[in-house]
């Protein structure tokens, strides 16, 4: 390992307290040599052994909450109103009158609208996920079923079975709260909290500051 290896154990300790302990142990030893050893009963260990206990499987009393998107996304026009608030539009305002264009795909730039949208998710067609028969106010499963935006995880699940299965078993997507649901609840992130549906690759981050081993850090001044 590239860890600065700690020095050999023995001599390296702050004096005082520990020295005192060793001296004490020796003292105890002398006292003991004088005293009688045999007179004392067996040692009691207070903690019970778990070996006999049945597996602990409490009834859940608290819920596991998966965060959900608030609802259909809105279109940001980029225009500010008189109060400086940005003006938004519902998707349907344009799409209820527009013919859907099945040729639009995530693998290539949008030609004359939604250009800000940079796609990198295979080469999926927009209409594979957005429900053009409902003016894009909903999502669409592969069999054509309409799906509210709040239930987006079902959309991901149909193409990413293994990850969804892992997620359901707590092995993908993480959680916060209680492992023991009889004591408290749990919250979980949605697929789209970690993955942008249009470019789902998890984004690189700057790591937190490196941690140090105090032992290693102090070593030099010590020996």
């Amino acid at each position: 390992m590239s860890v600065e290896d700690p020095s050999p154990p023995a001599a390296a300790r702050p004096p005082g307290r520990l020295l005192a302990r060793f001296v004490l142990l020796a003292l105890v030893g002398v006292a003991l040599a004088v005293g009688a050893v045999a007179a004392f009963g067996p040692v009691r260990v207070a903690r019970p052994s778990a070996e006999v206990a049945l597996p602990y499987t409490p009834e859940p009393k608290f819920a596991v909450e998966i965060r959900k998107p608030a609802g259909p996304p809105v279109f940001h026009t980029g225009i500010k109103d008189a109060n400086g608030k940005s003006v938004t539009m519902a998707c349907a305002e344009c799409h209820k009158t527009r013919e859907p264009n099945a040729a639009n795909r995530l693998g290539r730039p949008m030609a004359f609208f939604h250009q800000a949208l940079k796609g990198q998710h295979g080469n999926l067609a927009c209409v594979a996920c957005h429900n053009s028969t409902e003016a894009n106010a909903s999502l669409r499963l592969a069999d054509g079923t309409s799906l509210p935006y709040t239930e987006v995880m079902q959309l991901c699940a149909q193409c990413h079975g293994p990850q969804y299965r892992s997620y359901q078993h707590g092995a993908h997507g993480g959680m916060a709260g209680y492992w023991d649901l009889s004591k408290g609840g749990r919250t979980r992130a949605n697929c789209v909290d970690c993955h942008n549906p249009h470019a789902p690759k998890y984004q690189p981050v700057q790591p937190a500051r490196a941690t140090n081993d105090r032992g290693a850090a102090k070593e030099t001044g010590h020996e």
């Binding site: 050893v37 778990a50 602990y56 499987t57 490196a210 105090r214």
Partner: protein, 311 residues
């Protein structure tokens, strides 16, 4: 659990420590003995006679424990200016903890190590943590080529990341190495250290194949407003100078049913924790359904910390 281990005193041969203390007391009378050894404590302000005479933690009654905890709380107030609460949640019967980490998911962001630093009242100046994250070359597990001081956006191309902390071995070399039984495995599998009993010999540190144990060379420095006041006697209370410390799976949290701090802090969801004895638990599903492995299996340490890749 097995018979209490014996340790050897040079003068006496094999005798267990409690018997030694008792015998010492019986010979001189507790008060006389305490008075007789008082001068030794004048060498140092950190240890008082009560603490030395404290019996081995596992033999304390509930009231005796409370007395020790109150004393430690007062001490924290004096030394750190912080109002802390020290508790001692007991292991739950029928629970064996295990931890698993998905190496396909971990991106090496060190959020876990950071959370550990804060949760466990680590020394601020050295930025200490029980978790070390290795940046590893894809294609093998070669710690010699691993780097834990990287400082660039992660994940980097061709690298994967391996956080390493105490593996809570069933067959723990550190526990065997301890000459005074100051470290042991609890019935729920958590390997703990009694900081009041540890003599700081560092044999355990040398024995641990995972470099998971740390030694307190100096008194930890933590500003009063940064001290985490929710403290466990066997876990995150501020450790005195001169003792060993290590990850406890956040014993003070998990025995109350909560997740370890490092798991909650993980933004990628790479960590899985729980009770392996519960057939419906997440950790059990991982152990049953993923190809998990342990570090340095050949040493026979039987870690409770598992790693896996999705494919």
């Amino acid at each position: 659990m097995s018979e209490p281990k014996k340790f050897a005193l040079p003068v006496l041969g094999e005798v267990d420590r409690r018997t030694a203390l008792k015998a010492g007391a019986a010979t001189l009378g507790v008060t006389a003995w305490a008075a007789a050894i008082q001068p030794w404590f004048e060498w140092t302000t950190e240890l008082n006679v009560d603490e030395f005479l404290q019996k081995h933690y596992r033999e304390l009654t509930a009231e005796q424990k409370l007395a020790v905890f109150r004393h430690l709380e007062e001490d924290a107030k004096k030394q750190y200016g912080a109002d802390v609460h020290i508790s001692d949640p007991l292991p739950l019967p029928g629970v064996q903890y295990a931890y698993a980490l998905n190496l396909s998911i971990c991106i090496g962001c060190r959020k876990c190590a950071e959370a550990c630093h804060v949760e466990n009242n680590h020394d601020r100046p050295t930025h200490q943590s029980y978790i070390r994250v290795f940046e590893m070359q894809k294609g093998g597990i070669d710690f010699a080529k691993g780097d834990c001081h990287y400082d660039h956006p992660v994940p980097a191309p061709d690298k994967y990341y391996m956080p390493v902390q105490c593996q809570h071995c069933e067959n723990a070399p550190c526990v065997k190495a301890c000459p005074v039984e100051a470290t042991w495995a609890e019935p729920d599998g958590i390997v703990v250290v009694d900081y009041n009993w540890c003599i700081g010999c560092r044999y355990c540190e040398a024995a641990c194949p995972y470099h998971a144990r740390r030694f307190n060379w100096q008194k930890p420095e933590i500003p009063a407003d940064e001290v985490n006041p929710n403290q466990g006697y066997l876990s995150n209370r501020v450790r005195p100078q001169g003792v060993m410390e290590k990850c406890t799976f956040c014993l003070h949290r998990v025995r109350e049913g909560r997740m370890p701090a490092c798991l909650e802090a993980c933004p990628t969801g790479a960590r899985v924790f729980g009770n392996v004895l519960d057939p419906d638990s997440e950790i059990r599903w991982v152990l049953d359904n993923k190809r998990v492995f342990v570090l340095k299996e050949e040493l026979g340490t039987k870690p409770r910390f598992f790693y896996f890749f999705d494919k």
